[in-house]
Subunit: 408 residues, 2 copies
């Protein structure tokens, strides 16, 4: 039996939240920046204070190992990520890492020994906002991305992941490869409105949406905004606006769960009285059903093409990144459900619209996730909030599931 120390958990959360804090109560802690380094340093200190064996792998993932009574048993892996979105919230990722840390502290408090070792992890670059392959550390760990490819990715300033790791001293030497894992669980905030809408306080995550990221580049011709009649223009902005309007209407035509988002958008040359000659934007499409994602990608490309033909412009649409939908492990979900029932927690089984590192871990170990409710479903936003009661309730369930899995 493990109990989360509500106040210590809170204090730990507040301490970490000061690292990269924004003026509006959010977090700006992009992966492998100075702020991320300070969060990592604090995390390593905390692991060492627990007497854990700490190791850093070549992609900068940080592991701490708490031994079990059976030295030959495969470990249970728990954890999440400490990096944040640009001007994001304090709960996304961080809550899961700190719930994992508090679980280990709780085990020590009560002198619990588990049969299996328990390993805690902080994954590198979950967010993908600085280096645009999200879930990078877990993907390399699970063998889904080549280490060399990952290290060679660059940010907007041309800095590679390898250079960034070196700059903050997290270019570890442990192999960044799969190891035998008995089971993996990740605690995270829901980042959507379902739990709140249904009056539940725990999400048992059965899988993750499939998704595709695209980048469209529209090329037109710049012209004077006055003497150029509408019908002789090749307006890249007008093209992009038409395409984006249609792309935003696609989900409703495809399935109830599908979503599409245009999150980045720039035009050139960008002068008030000049018809724009370039427009570039990203598209993020997701669904629980991979065939819906595939259809959405096809239609995004068609809508861009149609808009170009209306405006005498040209375009290329590049596939940036995609992942198939994931079905998590039923037996791990069952353990979570049984613990939740024991603890009297109102729960629901649900898919995750957001991708998580657990998605990659699922390829190499039985995996599932626990979601805590998000107030108003808000996330990737400085106002992101999960009530502390819900944080503690979910962490208690998570700790008990960890012990259960470590004694299997």
């Amino acid at each position: 039996m493990v109990t989360i120390d509500r106040e210590r958990f809170r204090e730990s959360f507040e301490n970490y939240s000061r690292i990269g804090a924004t003026a509006n109560g959010g977090l700006h802690r992009l992966t492998l920046t100075e702020a991320d380094k300070r969060a990592r340093d604090t995390f390593v200190d905390d692991l060492e204070a627990l007497g854990l064996d700490v190791r850093i792998d070549r992609i900068g993932n940080i592991f701490g190992r708490r031994d079990g009574t059976d030295p030959t048993a495969d470990p249970v892996l728990i954890g999440s990520h400490l990096d944040s979105q640009p001007y994001g919230g304090r709960f996304d990722g961080q809550l899961g890492v700190l719930a994992s840390l508090e679980t280990l502290r709780g085990l020590d408090d009560e002198g619990v020994e588990t049969e299996r070792p328990i390993e805690i992890v902080n994954w590198t670059n979950e967010e993908g906002s600085r280096f645009q392959n999200a879930l990078l550390g877990s993907s390399v760990f699970a063998g889904n991305t080549e280490l060399e490819t990952a290290l060679g990715l660059t940010d907007d300033e041309g800095t590679t992941v390898e250079e960034a790791l070196g700059e903050i001293g997290y270019d570890g030497d442990h192999p960044a490869g799969p190891s035998d894992i008995h089971a993996h669980i990740e605690l995270h905030i829901e980042q959507g409105p379902s739990l709140e809408a249904h009056g539940n306080t725990l999400g048992i995550v059965e899988g993750v949406y499939g998704m595709s990221w695209l980048r469209a580049t529209i090329t037109g011709d710049s012209d004077h905004a006055g003497p150029t009649p509408m019908h002789t223009r090749s307006d890249a902005m007008a093209t992009a606006a038409d395409a984006v309007s249609e792309i935003n209407r696609l989900p409703n035509r495809l399935s109830a769960d599908a979503v599409s988002t245009v999150g980045e958008f720039t035009i050139g040359p960008g002068s008030i009285n000049v018809v724009p000659d370039t427009a570039e934007f990203t598209v993020d499409v997701r669904s629980d059903d991979d065939s819906v994602v595939a259809e959405a990608v096809t239609r995004v490309k068609q809508e861009v093409e149609h808009a170009c033909s209306r405006h005498s412009t040209t375009a290329s649409v590049e596939d940036v990144w995609s992942i198939e939908s994931t079905a998590f492990d039923d037996s791990v979900c069952d353990v979570i459900e049984s613990v939740a029932d024991d603890q009297g927690i109102a729960h629901e089984r649900m898919p995750s619209g957001a991708a998580h590192d657990a998605k990659h871990l699922n390829d190499i170990a039985p995996t599932a996730m626990l979601f805590a409710p998000s107030v108003d479903g808000k996330t990737h936003n400085e106002a992101e909030l999960t009530e502390w009661d819900d944080c503690v309730r979910t962490a208690n369930c998570y700790a008990a599931v960890t012990v259960e899995l470590a004694t299997q």
Copy 2:
């Protein structure tokens, strides 16, 4: 009789075009920058070489005066502007200044004395791309903008016009106010496709479109692109895309000559997997008919409002700048037409969709403009081109009109 020296005019044009030249054959010579200073210095040298009395006024307009035989007569004013759009073309503005310079050289070549003085001018900040009040120098000169207001305008980096003038040494001490002018003509490129389409090589410009500049700011809520269902979003990008699509359709619903342009567009926070919470864009609407411009402004605001109500976002639309349509002076147009007929130039009377400094001068003196054709109507673009034959033909007409006006 004055004849433009084709080769000297060409050489002068090529020399000036090297100042702020871009790699793609265009011009990047934003107002009151180092490049603008060098063009101004060259211009002042050229005026002094002609023995003209040079003066700089408090808004940085540069004048050169060639005396007439009647010292009491009001002068004929000729000229245009040497500043350029960001990565714009070489003909816009510069051609008119250099045709004026060549006109004065031609008068000297042939020892022509005119009854009236002739003044040549280079106006400050015609383009409005660095300091967003276009036609600034001529507006102050005509008494349509207060000098103090103009000097206090800031660029994106917070530099004022006054500071920028001081930095390049063009903070002159001559009063920047109206003086008595007999007539004003400006030579400019058409920047549109009409002359070419009609097989004419001279436009006699009877007036300028009315126009309004607006800036819309949309506020939504940032959210995770995955778990946030489409119907719970407040997506600033989706709102802006819908509004811009409609804004681009407005002209066709209003009148044959109306145009609308969204030339600047930015969103925030700008992450591939985050629903944008802000979008900001400019709108430029124009028509020969002021009531059409007014109706367009009303509808732009309505379309933004409708888009907001569809997407649960809010917006403000700010009126940035506007000018009413202008009717140039009939008698000056008649002089141009009579000279064009004498010289056998195929011409048409037309309005200008682009604003020009002559617009402000028309408020204080009889004014009209001459347009040279633009190949493919291209302008505000590095590929902007007017065939040299057309430049010389229009300049010859312009020179003869100048002499005609100066002997009235």
